[in-house]
Point group: C2
Chain length 389, copies 2
Amino acid sequence: MSQIIKHDQELMKKINKEMILNLIREKGPISRADLAKITNMSPTSISRIVTDFSELGLVKETNLTSSGVGRKAILLDTDPNSIHVISVEMDQSISKIGVVDFDGNIILKEEVTYDSHVMDWEKVVDKICNTIGGIIEQENSTESKIIGIGIGIPGIVDDKSGRVVFSPQLGWKDVGIVDYIEKRFGYKTTIDNLIKSKAIAENVYGSTKGSKRAALINFGTGVGSALIVNEEIYRGITNSAGEIGHTTIDPNGRLCDCGRIGCLQTFITEEALIQEARAFKNVYSIKEIFDSEIAGENWAINLIDRLYTYVGIAVCNVICMYNPDTVIITGKLIEERPEILDVIMKRVDDRIWAPFKNTYEIKGSNLCEKSGMLGVASLVINKYLDAEL
Amino acid sequence: MSQIIKHDQELMKKINKEMILNLIREKGPISRADLAKITNMSPTSISRIVTDFSELGLVKETNLTSSGVGRKAILLDTDPNSIHVISVEMDQSISKIGVVDFDGNIILKEEVTYDSHVMDWEKVVDKICNTIGGIIEQENSTESKIIGIGIGIPGIVDDKSGRVVFSPQLGWKDVGIVDYIEKRFGYKTTIDNLIKSKAIAENVYGSTKGSKRAALINFGTGVGSALIVNEEIYRGITNSAGEIGHTTIDPNGRLCDCGRIGCLQTFITEEALIQEARAFKNVYSIKEIFDSEIAGENWAINLIDRLYTYVGIAVCNVICMYNPDTVIITGKLIEERPEILDVIMKRVDDRIWAPFKNTYEIKGSNLCEKSGMLGVASLVINKYLDAEL
């Protein structure tokens, strides 16, 4: 029984520490007295916990003091530069690599390009690692501490074993990327599915903060979705939930690169659209198709109109399955042309099954192209805090 | 601060009581000493809690004693007849009404038929209530205590307000059924979506016990699905998650009774199949279509073959979205012809996207047509225990 009590005490300590740190992160600058007031904890306990944080460098005393009558109290806040994460967002031919601080600021960003369908996975990862290596060198000249590396990867990612199970975008199958990178740099490395990473970022820093059931749908080189339930990502049994791109949407449709017929993504992804457009005009990017549509070219108007129809279907199907209060639309499609959000809203509103009307809100991301990097950074920070607190 | 401690103490007491009761329900007959050993609680605490249960009638001393050396201890077990629930499973033209005891046995079952698309909702409910009234009279002559009424209803059900938002199967829109029944009988009444009720029953008594992520798909007068995450039903924001019947599965398909084109259910529900079959032969039930298929009639073979294709698609889409470890197939389709489970498994296995292979198990229900009644009964029992403990 004393074992259990001891375990419970340790757990309570940890919960209290987490609570205090979250309060400082959310409400800082804040005084020790106010922390005690909000949490109902004794000033002594607060001071003890804050000292722990200071020793880790996470929290510092600011130059500010509390207003009002009585003795002025020094206000506490997080030190954004206390811990840094090296954060990577991978896609088919480009990776964004940068440094994210404790407050969720991206303080450095570089890009690496490659052709993942031509190069071996080691070569792609080496290219990324070279840039990471350069960043680590730069970082070593500062006082900040790198706590780990986080990578968001499109496709089926086993976050537990650190392996990419299958990524159609990268052309990878069973790649042990975490082992490879940890061996090279010695830093703890965390990977996750890119769309799940984005959903986490929106929940921590972005458009779905405070939502109870939030879905994110990404339209880019692939199509995928993610669900946040009570602040946590719903992963399913093999971290593969939300793979809407390979739900069948038209049994009489086109053959997908997965070898099955009529997958949603055959109507929506950039590659599928470019491929189809080429029946009429030699285009190389979704931007060119949009430009042709704006220029009033009929083929592009038809193709984009059909794209909107399928995007509308995708969003409606996600709403039927997940019944979220918020749907965030992210990805290259909407980054390329943010004004299509209104078109999507209208299509969904016209199509949605009546009982779901007014149950959801459709939003763009206010983190935009930063969300992938912020999401994995948040995963790395949480793992670090979980181990240290 | 003392407020919080008091609140925590109350909560701990409740958690302990729940734990002990669950142990007796799971492992009974069991001795007080074994309960103390398993929970690390003191014999005094165990005795106090067990006395509370005995006073409520939930737990009784059996005639059995513990084996082994030392003083023989009397074994405890639940008293199945301590509490009874009146449980109703509604469908388009028939309702099953019965009594479920504390152990999940259906100890009485009656059926009521009606035509919900012709009769006012009050008339349908009155018909059901007349049977409930008869059952209550019978029950009053026993020593058991009716703790409430539970009703599983197809369609969008607001479990919090006790209203049926929309039920295509019943032809109901915004019906305050809980108020109506509570006024008539005075018993606390609970409603839920029928498919969610079935999923709860499978989780508590049936095929998905112990599963971490279980999906249930029901093929009957409608098509729907439900998701169980960590022993709890995933409801979404308006208790409407899992409405796969109205996901678009073929934008060039048929007009659905919801006014939209290509909903999954237009290819799968009994009514849709009968309607389509009538282009060739005047049939009145899914059984007749199956009979014609077995007799080798080509039209039926084709229709059933297409049915299996769409059932396969439905299951695959659910797996892609929810990534469950277990998929339970329920509903009239499979109750009518259990051997189709093998056909469904084969279709899904042929169609599923490669990364999902071997991540799931497809099962029939071992509760079969009892699952709806057991599921709502379990909801009623949990509410009762939550209030009493």
